[in-house]
């Protein structure tokens, strides 16, 4: 898996830079983005939520206990299957067959299937042509008025950004388990994010102290 290789193959020249520190303990921290996301689901039942973090007991239990259905997938794993993990990770994203495989494995659903999407930090690993296709596909499969939560690392000069496993602890608290340091494909500021999600109704940002830009996008 990509996450495993990130630990064991730190010398890849393109996407993954050498780890500055080994994977550490999980840390709980408050998340305004997560709070806003679950506030948008309040007083509703039997919604369909897309979760890109991979199957975890915490996320499954939390969402199903609210009376919702969860669709779980490990987007990093399918990214590895589609584009590999070596130095050609980004160039492989321009290959139409590989890009189609990635979209098919992650986002092949009927239009307006989901009432919410937890994308976490997946989008920052996608290069522009595929990135826009992915966002367009997310727009299609989300219902109007639904919310999408995405994270982008906000430290412009940083050579690497931490890669986390995201687990829901409470509606406004999440657990972050550091997996490695990764070089994001590109840096996103507020302007570029507004442009990326321009089809959507609104984009709201929360900049955290640990240089993580939490973004709530309303369809």
């Amino acid at each position: 898996m990509l996450k495993d290789r990130l630990r064991s193959e730190p010398s890849s020249p393109s996407l993954h830079s050498p780890p500055r520190k080994s994977p550490g303990q999980a840390q709980n921290r408050a998340s305004n983005g997560l709070d806003q996301f679950f506030a948008s689901l309040q007083d509703q039942e039997s919604l369909s939520i897309l979760d890109f973090s991979g199957a975890s007991q915490a996320n499954i239990s939390f969402i199903t206990s609210m009376g919702h259905r969860i669709y779980s997938n490990d987007a990093l794993r399918t990214m590895e299957e589609a584009f590999g993990t070596g130095g050609d990770f980004i160039t492989n994203q321009s290959d139409p067959d590989r890009a189609a495989l990635f979209l098919r494995e992650n986002l092949e659903f009927p239009d307006r299937t989901f009432d919410g999407a937890l994308i976490w930090d997946t989008l920052q690993f996608l290069a522009p042509p595929l990135l826009q296709d992915t966002v367009d596909r997310l727009y299609r499969i989300l219902r109007p008025q639904s919310s999408l939560l995405a994270f982008f690392h906000a430290e412009e000069k940083a050579q690497t950004a931490p890669l986390y496993s995201y687990r829901i602890v409470e509606s406004k608290i999440m657990s972050l388990t550091p997996r490695n340091q990764v070089r994001p494909v590109q840096y996103f500021n507020n302007r570029s994010l507004e442009k990326l999600f321009q089809k959507f109704h609104s984009v709201k940002f929360f900049l955290t102290r640990d240089h993580l830009r939490e973004v709530i996008v309303r369809r």
Partner: protein, 185 residues
């Protein structure tokens, strides 16, 4: 060593009563209404097992607990019993059981009326409908999870329960179940 293995695999024969001709057995056989234990092995053994070298294409129905360590292509139904998919088990099948424990691989939708337990290193691609789910770290799962709560656990007024039930059905119709079913890798 070979003899020891054979003893483990098959019921041991009594060394005190060597094999005798059929006529002799008939003459010496005691009259009894109690069946010999060896004629009813299902009463004392564990769950039925489909071994790792077995491959089955078709439908499996079972009225007892079943462990599958081989390959199944079709469907598996054990409505009131437990299905265990062993570490070597590979199912390309829809599954219905009371309880499902996955240590191997399932490609297909799973309906467990009581509980599904997806262990570390297991792989499940398909939609799950169950009352309870346990998923260990390291397991791979891709698909939707629909928690079907038993009606008895909902003491709400009948009208309200009915309304919830109908809204749930409506929602399920629009959920990714059908998409995910064809989304198996």
């Amino acid at each position: 060593m070979w003899n020891k293995r054979k003893e483990e695999e098959y019921p041991p024969k009594s060394p005190a009563t060597p094999a005798a001709p059929a006529s002799q057995i008939k003459e010496n056989a005691p009259m009894s209404t109690n069946p010999a234990p060896s004629h009813h092995p299902t009463e004392s053994r564990g769950p039925a097992v489909i071994g790792k070298s077995v491959m089955i294409k078709g439908q499996i129905f079972s009225r007892e607990d079943l462990t599958i360590d081989g390959e199944i292509d079709g469907s598996v139904e054990l409505h009131e019993h437990r299905l265990t998919v062993g570490p070597n088990g590979k199912l390309q099948a829809g599954v219905k059981a009371r309880e499902v424990v996955v240590l191997g691989t399932i490609h297909g939708n799973v309906e467990a009326s009581d509980k599904i337990d997806i262990r570390k290193d297991a792989k499940l691609v398909g939609d799950i409908k169950t009352a309870r789910i346990v998923i260990e770290d390291g397991a791979y799962f891709k698909g939707s999870i629909d928690i079907a709560r038993p009606e008895a656990a909902r003491p709400a007024a009948p009208a309200q329960a009915k309304a919830q039930s109908s809204s749930s059905t409506a929602s399920n119709a629009a959920t990714p179940a059908t998409a995910a079913a064809g989304d198996s890798r």
